[in-house]
């Protein structure tokens, strides 16, 4: 297989992915300190708050940098994750059978992102916006907004966390643990997947890239 | 205080007038509250004040009065009670009022000189008989009295009115026209509720509530107490204000009993003790009269102030037939002489001998008469005139606390030298670089010495209830600071060095001064307060009987006229046991008094001889049984009468004299002692001829009054004709000062308020600061609470001058002006006085130009920049509490 590989993620995309990943983990952990009283002592002396804020700045900065450096790609991604079609519905219907039983019969061929990945990207995208907006209010506007409103803003932050944390588990599982997703993690580490894997999991995309010779430009963004 | 703090809880009605106890004596309210919340017959609280204060907020009745109208108010209360007494049937009268007390224990029934004429006499309106106006320009008293017609008809053995004694009268005309009670009625007859409202601004209905509530304490067994402070005393007639309270309390039988008394709330932790030690121009330690030039020998002194001045007088017809007049007691006792000789021995010890009159001539002698005033006001005038050239100031701050403060600051510039000892740099020490002063033209040398604070040293202090309590040292003084004791000790030793070798009247009193206070150990190099305390208590200076030289005396009863004892202050003789236990250090927390009325006699020690409630012989009836069974101060133990000594066992407090009760002595054919043992007559003074301006208080106007005519006496102000003041409109004997022309008198101008002084200004304190502020204005926690000087005023006035709450305003008087933050409040209301609408403006006087918290204007916003250099007729205490001012937006 090593001889037949296609590039799936560029170095920049991977850097972006892992930056965000690490940041998100840091944010999640430092945020968790405020969820889990048993971890409360770890939040001592506000260190976790400071780290959380530094990470938050990176989380905001990373997509912005990505957008500035590769605006076309970024726009494409946004457009992509908001574009849903019939295939996506089909995919969602077929997915349980596939992921439990490996039954591929009903799976429609997928583009550079399959529906699941698209869904994850969408959740991630929206929850980051939710995190950033609510977080910014909590950070900068605490003194100027009514106490009651502040508490509701924290709830938005928390809701974002519940949703994104749950989805992160799924993402992590499918990307790294699910028995059938053998090359997913590798692709994000090394950037390449085997032709076989590409055909199998992203038929439409493979067809596109092998037909049009468009290589890097149309790589899938940083998600699985 | 005649009584003490805890005793407030025994009261049935507490009248707080001229005091804001909740703010300035906050812990007193522990006991006020205890009285008000006790389960049975809770006490009522009355607050009389121009301003609704934190005290008023807790009162059952709040009575607003115009500042300086206490006599009109109290006179109205006296009238109410007298009128009530007269209109009741004899039986009801005896139930509602303690007639035995009134007639047997006071001079109510005594007959006054037949030529006495009251202030209503048309030939001298507003004045008693015998007045002469002082025509000299200020400074000086407005006038003075010949008191020859104020005394008893028979000075040595006054007559009494039998009808009054026997409760056998219905109308005033049934009493002798010169009987004290009838004269009292005539003095206050016009002080009707209508008149009270017109003069004081207190609504009639409120006033009548006050009268009713307070008069109820007249019943035997009931007690009402008066708590007063500087709101009473700081007037040109401050002493007469207090006289008014005394009369009221005596009419109601409230002196000497638990829960009663007239209680002066001392503003300083040891102002009681410093007064007992007589750091005052007119007295020597133990309230012994200062010597004047007419008293050239000890014998002349003793004869004049003791033998003649304190000779026992026995009224005729009373149940008691013996007056102790303790100051003299008898030719064999000569207490006055004992006390003075023991003082002289303590001061000049072995150098004071019978042959040299016990160094009597070492005592400085003032000029007799009224040609010099040695009090605070007079002293500063002497400083301003260059008579006084050097000044030592120990923990006082007259540049903030003195009247016409800017004038007094300016006077300090005349000094050659000034020594100030304090904890912090005070305005007084810093006068030479205050705003407006030019150090380059001020030649005064100034020494500023660092003193130890209260817990950096040890010694005793006496609280308002006369409890001398020892306080201990918690740590060494800061830096190189020393206790005042160490400083005065070192200074006197230095002076002795300087005078060493000299002789003569100048050097002898110093060289021969007994000064030996160092002890082993901690006090090897400075005075040991324990040793000083022993000298104050007193000891034998030679072997007498079984007593050896150096043995401690038992108490002042042991003191002798022959120089065999010394005692620095007879009142404090008794603070030690003969084996040397300092009772000021006693800390027995158990209250062993009768019925636990809260005397706590085992906690510290109080003068005289640990008597916690003075005049307590008035708390029992003729048989020695307490009027009040629930709160007995003392009680005669049945059968304990000792015929040989005519004494008995008294239970409870230390009885005021150990003699048996009047009826018990009488039954035994022995002299029956009258209860008020310090008075020559043995009875208390409703009639008080000793005061400068009259035997009974008359409602005079303050020196600066918003009125044109005294509404009570009818005497017009005549401002232009009488720039010094008008006798009969003003207090006829008040002291009008003059600090180099700065003491201008402000006048109202009702036609053009912007050009006159139509507001009544007053000064006071806030709870969070203390006196002239030198200590509390350096305490961040307290400055946080009260950061800036304020000027409190009513909404009506604020509206008129366009001032809003929190604005900076300027308060202006004829002396000067200060800036302060306006506190606009409903707690000051506009009053209708006669035909005038009168507003008050109140300023705390704590601030100055030094310390962490300074005033707003460069003069430190000291309230006393506004006050006049005018003083009380008897004491020359300055009139801080009433003056005219106007408010401007700054």
């Amino acid at each position: 297989m090593a001889h037949h590989e296609v590039e799936r993620f560029s170095a920049g995309a991977r850097l972006f992915h892992w930056t965000v990943t690490i940041t998100a983990i840091v944010l999640a952990i430092t945020g968790l300190f405020l969820w889990v009283p048993a971890f409360g002592s770890l939040a001592e002396d506000s260190y976790s708050r400071i780290i959380h804020r530094v990470a938050a700045v990176i989380l905001v900065a990373a997509p912005l940098l990505f957008f500035i450096s590769r605006p076309g790609r970024a726009l494409h991604f946004v457009k992509y994750i908001f574009t849903w079609g019939k295939d996506d519905i089909e995919w969602l219907k077929a997915a349980p059978d596939y992921y439990f039983g490996g039954d591929e019969k009903k799976m429609p061929p997928q583009g550079e992102m399959n529906t699941g990945q698209k869904l994850w990207s969408l959740v991630a995208f929206l929850s980051v916006i939710g995190f950033v907006v609510s977080g910014a209010i909590m950070w900068f506007a605490k003194a100027s907004i009514p106490a009651e409103l502040f508490l509701w803003v924290t709830i938005i932050h928390d809701l974002c966390f519940i949703v994104s944390a749950s989805m992160t588990l799924v993402h992590l599982y499918l990307g790294a643990i699910h028995p059938r997703m053998t090359e997913s993690l590798k692709s994000m580490l090394k950037g390449k997947v085997s032709v076989e894997y590409a055909k199998h999991h992203h038929g439409k995309w493979y067809a596109e890239i092998s037909k049009g010779k468009e290589t890097d430009n149309k790589q899938a963004p940083s998600t699985h | 205080m005649t009584n003490h703090w805890i005793d407030l809880r025994n009261s049935d009605c507490i009248l707080i007038i001229g005091s804001n106890a909740a703010e300035n004596h906050p812990i007193s309210f522990k006991w006020v509250t205890a009285a008000m919340t006790r389960a049975n017959n809770p006490a009522k609280l009355i607050s009389v004040d121009p301003r609704f204060t934190r005290t008023s907020s807790k009162a059952d009745i709040y009575a607003p009065i115009r500042s300086g109208t206490d006599i009109a108010f109290i006179g109205g209360m006296i009238r109410y009670i007298l009128n009530d007494m007269q209109s009741l049937s004899r039986t009801e009268r005896a139930e509602k009022y303690n007639l035995t007390y009134l007639t047997q224990y006071t001079n109510a029934a005594l007959i006054i000189h037949s030529e006495f004429e009251g202030w209503k006499d048309p030939t001298h309106p507003g004045l008693f008989v015998g007045f002469t106006e002082n025509t000299n320009p200020a400074p000086g008293n407005l006038g003075g009295y010949s008191k020859s017609k104020w005394g008893y008809a028979d000075a040595g053995s006054p007559d009494t009115d039998a009808a009054l004694l026997g409760n056998n009268w219905t109308n005033w005309s049934d009493l002798n026209p010169k009987c004290v009670l009838r004269l009292l009625w005539e003095n206050y007859e016009d002080f009707t509720p209508e008149m009270v409202e017109k003069v004081t601004g207190c609504p009639q209905s409120t006033f009548e509530q006050v009268c009713e509530a307070y008069a109820a304490t007249g019943a035997p067994g009931k007690a009402g107490t008066i708590m007063y402070a500087m709101g009473t005393t700081q007037h040109t007639y401050g002493t007469q204000n207090i006289r008014g309270y005394a009369i009221l309390q005596l009419l109601l039988g409230n002196i000497g009993v638990a829960g009663g008394g007239i209680n002066a709330l001392r503003g300083t932790s040891n102002v009681q003790g410093s007064t007992d030690m007589c750091l005052l121009s007119h007295i020597l330690p133990g309230y012994l009269s200062v010597v004047n030039h007419k008293l050239q020998t000890l014998e002349q002194y003793v004869d004049t102030v003791g033998r003649k001045g304190k000779a026992p007088v026995v009224p005729k017809g009373l149940a008691g037939d013996k007056s102790a007049s303790w100051w003299w007691l008898s030719e064999s006792a000569q207490n006055y002489k004992k006390y003075l000789v023991s003082l002289l021995k303590a001061w000049w010890m072995d150098n004071a001998t019978e042959e040299n009159d016990f160094c009597f001539n070492y005592l400085p002698k003032i000029n007799a008469g009224q040609d010099a005033d040695y009090t605070h006001i007079g002293t500063f005038e002497a400083v301003a005139k260059g008579i006084v050239k050097g000044m030592m100031v120990w923990g006082q701050n007259p540049a903030v606390g003195g009247p016409d403060a800017e004038g007094e600051r300016k006077a300090l510039e005349k000094l050659d030298w000034l020594m100030v000892t304090d904890l912090f740099e005070t305005e007084t020490a810093a006068f030479w670089y205050r705003d407006g002063a030019d150090p380059g033209s001020i030649g005064t040398e100034v020494f500023l010495l660092p003193a130890a604070c209260s817990y950096e040293k040890q010694g005793s202090i006496s609280n308002s209830g006369r409890w001398a309590q020892w306080r201990y040292k918690a740590l060494d003084p800061i830096g190189e600071a020393k206790s005042d004791l160490a400083i005065v000790d070192a200074l006197v030793l230095k002076l002795k060095e300087k005078y060493a070798g000299e002789t003569g009247p100048k050097a002898d009193p110093i060289n021969q001064l007994y000064w030996d206070y160092h002890t082993e150990g901690e006090y090897a190099d400075e005075a040991d307060p324990n040793k000083v305390a022993l000298e104050i208590h007193g000891y034998y200076t030679k072997d007498v009987g079984d007593k050896k030289k150096g043995d401690l005396v038992t108490n002042f009863v042991s003191l002798a006229t022959d120089g065999s004892t010394c005692s620095g202050n007879w009142l404090y003789s008794g603070m030690f046991t003969t084996d040397g236990r300092n009772k000021a250090k006693d800390r027995d927390p158990v209250d062993a008094s009768l019925n636990q009325i809260g005397l706590y006699s085992g906690w510290s020690w109080c003068w005289p001889i640990n008597r916690r409630i003075i005049y307590n012989r008035a708390s029992v009836d003729l048989d020695g049984s307490p009027w009040d069974d629930i709160h007995p101060v003392i009680a005669y133990q049945e059968g304990s009468h000792n015929p040989a000594t005519n004494t008995c066992k008294w239970l409870g407090d230390i009885a005021d004299g150990g003699w048996s009760p009047i009826a018990v002595s009488k039954n035994d054919g022995k002299p029956a002692y009258l209860p008020f043992i310090m008075q020559n007559e043995g009875v208390a003074h409703i009639w008080g001829p000793g005061r400068a301006e009259g035997p009974l208080p008359v409602a005079y106007e303050p020196w600066e009054s918003p009125l044109e005519t005294n509404l009570v006496t009818g005497v017009p102000a005549q401002l232009d004709e009488s720039p010094k003041g008008m006798p009969g409109f003003n207090d006829p004997c008040c002291y009008v000062g003059d600090l180099g022309g700065m003491n201008q008198r402000g006048r109202p101008n009702w036609e053009d308020p912007t050009n006159g002084f139509n507001c009544v200004g007053t000064t006071y304190r806030v709870s969070e600061h203390w006196q002239a502020g030198q200590m509390t204005r350096n305490h961040p926690w307290l400055i946080e609470l009260q950061p800036q000087p304020i000027a409190e005023m009513g909404e009506e006035l604020a509206d008129d001058v366009g001032v809003k709450n929190g604005d900076i305003v300027k308060v202006v008087t004829a002396r000067g002006s200060i800036e302060a933050v306006a506190v606009v409040t409903k707690r000051f209301r506009r009053m209708t006085i006669g035909d005038k609408q009168v507003d008050h403006v109140g300023v705390p006087w704590h601030w100055g130009y030094k310390g962490l918290s300074k005033g707003i204007s460069p003069n430190g916003s000291s309230g006393n920049v506004l006050t006049p250099h005018v003083g009380d007729a008897n004491t020359t205490i300055p009139e801080y509490k009433t003056f005219l001012c106007r408010v401007e937006k700054a």
């Binding site: 889990v36 048993a38 | 805890i6 004596h25 700081q234 503003g267 300083t268 040891n270 410093s274 007992d276 750091l279 005052l280 121009s281 330690p285 303590a346 001061w347 002698k365 003032i366 002293t379 050239k389 050097g390 030592m392 100031v393 120990w394 923990g395 006082q396 050659d416 030298w417 020594m419 150090p439 005064t444 040398e445 020494f447 010495l449 660092p450 209260s454 817990y455 010694g459 202090i461 020892w470 306080r471 918690a474 740590l475 830096g479 190189e480 020393k482 005042d484 004791l485 005065v488 070192a490 002076l495 005078y499 100048k506 110093i510 000083v532 800390r587 906690w603 600061h769 926690w781 801080y880």
Partner: protein, 198 residues
């Protein structure tokens, strides 16, 4: 491994419950660091003193190091105040110690201001300071001394000086007041006053 819908539901139920059980563990409150056997954060004090402000004479107890006050509060045994104090009494500690350090405004050395000078100078030792003061007192006293006065043609011995005044004492201890009175009268002072009059 086959999975029925029922099994699935069962399993998810168990899983959710597992999540909640973990939550319960994690939500447990940390053990109180401030339980009932807590030590006092500072000593309350044992040195009895009497408040230096008004005339009520409240008792206070002080705890101090060699050079700073640690705590001053009401003396609970004192029958008058029974442990209570007002704002001023409660601030007594700041007479000496503010925020753990000496109150910076307290005077610590004798100061002298020379005639026409614009500043204070420190006098290094007490002996010098008192020597200077004693010189001033003696000079003024000697210059203004009155052995006798003449009133209406008669001479009276008065042995006094009108040239020196002494103020103060209401804040001092009885023993201090007594010695001040003794010194003042021995010096022949007649202008002797304190705050009782004002």
């Amino acid at each position: 491994m086959e999975l029925s819908r029922r099994d699935f539901l069962k399993f998810s139920g168990v899983a959710t419950a597992g999540g909640l059980a973990a939550a319960k563990m994690l939500e447990a409150q940390p053990v109180s660091a401030e339980s009932l056997d807590l030590e006092l954060s500072k000593p309350i004090g044992e040195v009895p003193t009497i408040c230096c402000y008004c005339g009520v004479g409240c008792g206070a107890i002080a705890a101090a190091d060699a050079d700073k006050v640690i705590n001053i509060e009401g003396d609970p045994d004192h029958p008058i105040n029974q442990g209570s104090l007002c704002s001023k009494g409660q601030a007594l500690a700041q007479m000496r110690t503010v925020n753990g350090k000496d109150n910076p405004n307290r005077l610590t050395k004798p100061l002298y201001r020379a005639p026409y000078s614009t500043e204070w100078e420190v006098i290094e030792d007490w002996d010098t300071a008192l020597d200077m003061i004693a010189d001033r007192i003696k000079k003024t006293r000697d210059e203004t001394w009155l052995d006798k006065i003449d009133v209406g043609g008669t001479s009276y011995t008065v042995n006094r000086t009108d040239g020196i005044a002494e103020f103060g004492g209401g804040e001092l201890d009885n023993e201090e007041c007594y010695l001040l009175a003794k010194m003042a009268r021995a010096l022949g002072l007649v202008y002797l006053e304190h705050c009782a009059r004002i």
